[in-house]
């Protein structure tokens, strides 16, 4: 069994003159220092590239990590972060002398490759899976997610105020997070006054692309107790895809419903494996590439009944002090899009009791998820009693 013993970040923002490697170096140094470890303690480095990459060996060279016995890029993207922690746990089990593994992600999401598609030039040809979708002008994540949202609205009458509730709640949390890029609170009028870009999404409903890096140190449990912080155990991980899932938006042609996401398949597994029940959850850090991803996951994880997520958030349940404080650092909608790593950083801060004004009182467990639609993974983190 493994625990998260160190967390680190670079600054998040628009840094055209910095390379992704430079950002990765900053975050990994921060995480290893946070764990009270040194360069020689790092036995493995792992990342999950997708468009923006810093190769593990490039990072190892830049940081003088000479004692590595594991370095790999899993190339699976944001849907895999939680599953990847399960892989690291397995590596620690198989390689009994490996002690500490760094998991990191660095993106030039603002000044480099924009996941949202900004700065794209004309698309002249569409091959592979995209030949069935791109010729129709359906190419971006926002446009893909809009299809999912349309079924929810048709079936349950989801309204703008439901999406606003997610956005406003997370923006309120972000006020207390100095790393957050969107730190100013947002009013309902301001939200509703913003232009709808791809129905039902305004810019506020889409995660904010940044340049940045985030890193975790994952340690063998027997070593974790001697370190600086109370250990945050990876109690369970789970991963699944809906039948028909694909690698891009075109999968909607094979999915029987867009009303539930991957979380519906892993929820009970995750709670059973971790020994933490749904009603015991202290908080959740849910993958929020879009506001709708949060609503979908609240329902698919069984946190609220289908169709009631909007009301659930509007009633304050996801706010700090609510039943299930969610995305307490502002999430990727407000803090910045670190491809699902933000969720882990914030979960660990909360479980250490180090979240200051945004602290969830007595938080001892946290649901953390990775992925928004057909494919994803999640973990339950637990801080063991001292």
């Amino acid at each position: 069994m493994a625990s998260i013993t160190g967390i680190g970040t670079s600054r998040y923002g628009n840094f055209p003159d910095r390379t992704a490697l430079s950002l990765a170096v900053e975050a990994v140094t921060d995480a290893v220092t946070d764990a009270a470890l040194s360069r020689r303690d790092v036995a493995g480095v792992v990342t999950y590239g997708l468009d923006n990459d810093v190769a593990p060996h490039a990072l190892a060279s830049a940081l003088g990590l000479t004692e590595l016995d594991f370095a790999y890029d899993f190339r699976a993207g944001g849907v895999a972060v939680s599953a990847l922690l399960g892989v690291v746990d397995a590596i620690l089990a198989a390689q009994r002398d490996t002690g500490h593994v760094v998991v990191y992600r660095a993106v030039k999401g603002r000044s480099g490759h924009r996941y949202g598609g900004s700065g794209r030039s004309r698309i002249e040809r569409a091959s592979g899976e995209s030949q069935y979708t791109a010729p129709h002008g359906w190419t971006t994540y926002a446009e893909h997610m809009a299809m999912w949202a349309s079924q929810h609205r048709h079936r349950y009458g989801t309204k703008d105020v439901d999406y606003a509730a997610v956005v406003l709640t997370q923006r309120a949390h972000a006020q207390h997070n100095s790393r957050a890029v969107r730190r100013t609170p947002l009013t309902l009028d301001e939200y509703l006054g913003a232009e709808v870009l791809v129905d039902p999404f305004r810019r506020h409903d889409m995660c904010v692309e940044v340049d940045g890096a985030c890193a975790l140190v994952v340690s063998r449990d027997s070593l974790a107790d001697t370190l600086r912080w109370p250990r945050v155990r990876i109690a369970a991980t789970a991963q699944a895809s809906l039948p028909g899932a694909g690698s891009s938006g075109h999968e909607v042609m094979r999915l029987d419903s867009l009303l539930q996401c991957y979380a519906a398949l892993i929820a009970s597994r995750l709670f059973e494996r971790s020994g933490v029940s749904r009603t015991e959850l202290c908080g959740a850090q849910l993958y929020d590439s879009f506001s709708h991803s949060v609503l979908l996951q609240l329902e698919s994880f069984g946190i609220c009944p289908p169709g009631e997520s909007g009301e659930y958030v509007r009633s304050g349940n996801c706010s700090i002090g609510g039943v299930l404080p969610t995305n307490t650092g502002g999430g990727m909608l407000a803090e910045g899009y670190l491809h699902g790593m933000n969720q882990y950083h914030e979960a660990v801060v909360q479980l250490r009791g180090a979240a200051g004004a945004r602290q969830i009182p007595d938080a001892w467990n946290m649901l953390v998820s990775s992925g928004a639609t057909s494919t994803g993974s999640a973990a339950l983190l637990v801080r063991d009693a001292a």
Binding site: R114, G116, G117, S118, G119, R120, S121, R122, I123, E124, R125, A126, S127, G128, E129, S130, Q131, Y132, T133, A134, P135, H136, G137, W138, T139, T140, E143, H144, A146, M147, W148, S150, Q151, R153, H154, E195, V196, L197, V198, D199, H250, V252, M253, R254, L258
Partner: protein, 134 residues
């Protein structure tokens, strides 16, 4: 309209579909062994793994299951076309396709709407689009 979109690059699996579009026929992959239908077309039947996959000409009618109203795009050629509507259509044969919806009231929820196929021709290709069956 759709003609300004990227040109689909036909491959060994999709060539028959795009050739069908050129003739204004909407083709669905059908397994010759077990008659299982599939879209997008597949190399091998997902039901029985037969590699003998042929085509069935669709009636070209279906029901809208989901919609994206695109009012603003980050892709230059699509920005010029905004606003436009893309729908997920479930064909009467059971498979689904994504395509533009033409001729429906802008902004009105088309989910549940019965639609029929039409084709937009350009120099390079023909692309299926959907309009109310009415």
């Amino acid at each position: 309209m759709t003609g300004a979109g990227p040109v689909p690059v036909a491959d060994s699996v999709s060539a028959e579909f795009w050739a069908g579009c050129r003739r204004h026929q909407l083709l669905i992959a059908r397994c010759i062994a077990c008659e299982h239908l599939e879209f997008p077309p597949v190399e091998r039947c997902t039901a029985c793994w037969s590699d003998r996959v042929g085509s069935l000409r669709s009636e070209g009618r279906g029901i809208v299951e989901a919609v994206a109203f695109i009012r603003s795009s980050v892709v230059p050629q699509f920005m010029e076309q905004c606003p436009y509507t893309v729908v997920l259509v479930r064909l009467v044969e059971g498979v689904r396709m994504v395509g533009r919806l033409h001729g429906a009231d802008a902004g009105e929820d088309p989910i549940g709407l019965a639609v029929r196929v039409d084709f937009v021709d350009t120099v390079d290709c023909s692309v299926p689009v959907w309009q109310p069956a009415g």
